[in-house]
């Protein structure tokens, strides 16, 4: 399938992640300076030049597990901490949101407009920080250079590749259920009304021609839909009106986001069927992107009190309950961070780290049975401030 899919997948998922984190930081009343630092740190890491150069190389899509590892690391690129259950929920929301956007794109090429919507919002998050802003602008240029020359057929191939990645994911998202864009069985509502895509005619007309090319007959048929003319085409430039609303921020402080685990696909056996063939990236070896991500040292503050935890659930109890009750087939099987200590450091990786040596990120975590995060006695940050917030 398409070898140009990964940048779009990463940038759109990253954009959704930032929307959700922004909402949670505000909902939990995290102090402004800390919240801003988290957003800036994550965006800086996301758009690191070496990382993006690797991302934009032609390559096959990563497995779900490998991509999840990259986002785990991205989410922890700053002083913010997320528990396993919150990280799972964050990733569920991100992926279901982008799946929705890909499915509902009027034309395959509109996926690029969706990406620009995410980029526009990211640019707005860092508008006060010129250094990060220039990284974001550079990414716009790379997107424009790689994607604007592609044909509709090539975009459809990208879309088909993305849809295979999202296949069989039917996690119910409360905000989607409320807005009636998702059914209670987890499937998205596909409207049969509204404007047709740019370049498409409203269905209903049959024109017949003579062999000399003259139109000889016109017939209208009932089209069983309620379509209107296409809207104008959105802009594919660095700045411009995108027209499409998919990919804009649908969260606000007053709209909490929940997921329902029980909405998983009825035939849960299908989840395991796909991964029977060995995929080298699904094994324990960290992929290059994840290693690059982990090696990008954002200056850790000397004061451990500045670190804080964000909860994607209403209470800590809910978060713990979610971790215990998560169905097996929805487990992302995050690659154990502890394993990074044994990883060989590549020359490229050395070049990206500030100190020239890859220091594994370790976490101390109070009182949980979770084995997905390594505990280390030599961990610098023995205490993590647990700040309890309700909604």
């Amino acid at each position: 399938m398409s070898s140009k899919t990964l940048p779009l997948l990463f940038i759109n998922l990253g954009g959704e992640m930032l929307y959700i984190l922004d909402q949670r930081l505000r909902a939990q009343n995290i102090p402004c300076d800390k919240a801003k630092k988290v957003m800036n740190d994550i965006i800086t890491t996301m758009f690191n030049k070496k990382f993006l150069d690797e991302l934009f190389k032609p390559q096959e899509l990563y497995s779900k597990k490998a991509l999840r590892t990259v986002f785990d690391r991205l989410a922890h690129a700053s002083i913010m901490r997320l528990n396993q259950a919150s990280m799972d929920k964050l990733y569920d929301l991100m992926t279901m949101a982008f799946k929705y956007q890909v499915l509902l794109c009027p034309r395959p090429k509109d996926i690029l407009l969706v990406s620009f919507n995410h980029m526009d919002a990211i640019r707005d998050f860092v508008r006060d920080t010129p250094s990060i802003l220039s990284q974001v602008d550079e990414t716009y240029r790379q997107l424009i250079e790689m994607y604007t020359p592609l044909s509709g057929g090539e975009f459809q191939l990208i879309r088909q590749t993305l849809l295979i990645f999202f296949q069989d994911m039917h996690i119910r998202v409360s905000i989607f259920l409320k807005d009636k864009v998702q059914n209670s069985n987890g499937r998205f509502v596909l409207p049969t009304s509204g404007p047709v895509p740019f370049g498409t005619q409203i269905p209903g007309l049959i024109r017949m021609f003579s062999c000399s090319g003259d139109e000889v007959k016109r017939v209208q048929f009932r089209s069983a839909g309620n379509y209107s003319s296409a809207l104008r085409e959105g802009s594919f430039e660095m700045y411009g009106e995108r027209v499409i609303k998919l990919g804009t921020n649908m969260y606000s402080v007053s709209r909490p986001v929940e997921t329902h685990m029980s909405g998983a696909s009825k035939n849960s056996a299908q989840h395991t069927k796909v991964s029977t063939a060995p995929n080298p990236l699904a094994k324990e070896e960290l992929n290059l992107l994840a290693r690059l991500m982990g090696g990008l040292e954002v200056r850790k503050p000397a004061n451990p009190d500045s670190r804080f935890r964000v909860n994607l659930f209403a209470t800590d109890e809910e978060e713990e309950e979610a971790l215990i009750s998560r169905p097996d087939e929805l487990s992302y099987e995050v690659i154990n961070i502890q394993a990074t200590k044994q990883c060989r450091v590549s020359a490229l990786l050395k070049a990206t780290t500030t100190g020239g040596e890859f220091r594994p990120v370790t976490y101390g975590y109070k009182g949980s049975n979770s084995n997905h995060y390594a505990t280390s006695n030599s961990c610098e940050y023995a205490h993590i401030e647990e700040i309890l917030f309700g909604l």
Binding site: P58, S151, Q167, I206, C211, G225, T276
Partner: protein, 336 residues
């Protein structure tokens, strides 16, 4: 005109791929076979006509010496030749040909894959059985491979490579009327919308090139010397194959068309698209006026589903079957 029958469950859901349903009717055994592609796997189900017996089989993509690969399958289709029927799978790595029940792999052709991925994706897509003994398969580079198929055994030979398309091949179709009176044997389509019309033989001959209009043609059929082509804009166009004359233009769907099929005995045309609609049309030939009339007969909305495969189950168009992205069933309709 049609009513819904009981769906057939398949082992995994359909992927969003063009023409993602193939049907083979085996009259002597009162069976119909269906195939639906899911990522790197082909789901085959055999259904008895009395609706009581179903049996399933799964085939996986192959890669070099690895029998079960994770490389993605683009299309699976039965090829019906006078002497035998073969099931052909096209993937990112190559072309697999099986006996029609999927029991034995008869032939494997590996695509030239570069060491590291290139900007241009590599895959095979577009399958057609042509005349007595050819199976043609399209490639992402635009090439069309012509294989010479023996009446039995596995001595398949690559006979010719046709180089007319410059964009990835999307679909192809051979003349399905059963008549020998038409000159064109094969039509091939690509991502730019270009259609090439061929006459088969030891050396395939290009009869005509019907230019695209910068819109991908995702599905194509050839019947009684007439091409039916479905496009990404949701339009269906009917052409005379050897001259490229446009007979009709239909604003058929509001989204990308994914599948077309023709019932050769009745002239019914079936179209399925991302807009959740399946439509049945009728083509009437007027040989004296050299024109074709298109009439809309029926529409069915498969709610909240992006259709990826739609095929008639018999030559009269008495029944048809539909697949949709993320759906683990084959939905069937029969004339009321």
């Amino acid at each position: 005109m049609y009513h819904k029958e009981k769906s057939i469950q398949i082992k995994s859901s359909a992927s969003a791929l063009y023409n993602n349903l193939s049907v083979l009717r085996i009259a002597p055994r009162c069976l119909t076979y269906f195939t639906v592609v899911h990522a790197n796997v082909v789901n085959m189900v055999s259904a008895s006509w009395d609706g009581l017996n179903f049996s399933h089989r799964q085939l996986q993509s192959k890669e070099g010496n690895i029998a079960a690969s994770s490389s993605l399958i683009m299309q699976a289709s039965w090829c019906v030749l006078p002497s035998r029927e073969l099931l052909v799978l096209t993937s990112q790595k190559g072309i697999q040909m099986y006996e029609s029940d999927g029991s034995i792999m008869v032939y494997w052709h590996a695509l030239d894959n570069p060491e590291t991925p290139t900007a241009q994706a590599v895959f095979a897509r577009g399958i057609a059985a042509v005349r007595e003994n050819y199976i043609c398969v399209g490639i992402s580079s635009g090439s069309v491979l012509v294989f010479d198929i023996p009446s039995k055994g596995s001595n398949v030979m690559l006979s010719e490579v046709l180089e007319e398309h410059r964009d990835a091949v999307t679909d192809m179709a051979s003349e399905c009327s059963g008549s020998l009176e038409y000159m064109a044997d094969l039509v091939t389509a690509d991502d730019s919308g270009l259609l090439c019309v061929w006459k088969s033989g030891e050396d395939f001959q290009l009869l005509h090139k019907i230019p695209g209009f910068d819109v991908s043609c995702s599905s194509v059929k050839l019947w009684k010397g007439t091409v039916a082509a479905g496009y990404g804009t949701g339009q269906i166009r009917i052409y005379e194959a050897v001259t490229g004359i446009v007979h009709a233009e239909v604003n058929a769907h509001a989204r990308w068309i994914y599948s077309l099929d023709i019932a050769p005995f009745s002239g019914l045309l079936l179209s399925g698209a991302e807009d959740s609609l399946v439509r049945v049309w009728h083509l009437t030939m007027n040989p004296d006026a050299n024109s074709v009339e298109v009439e809309h007969l029926y529409s069915e909305c498969i709610t909240d589903t992006q259709i990826c495969g739609a095929k008639f189950c018999d030559g009269d168009g008495y029944a048809f079957a539909v697949t949709g992205y993320d759906l683990s069933e084959i939905i069937r309709y029969t004339q009321a």
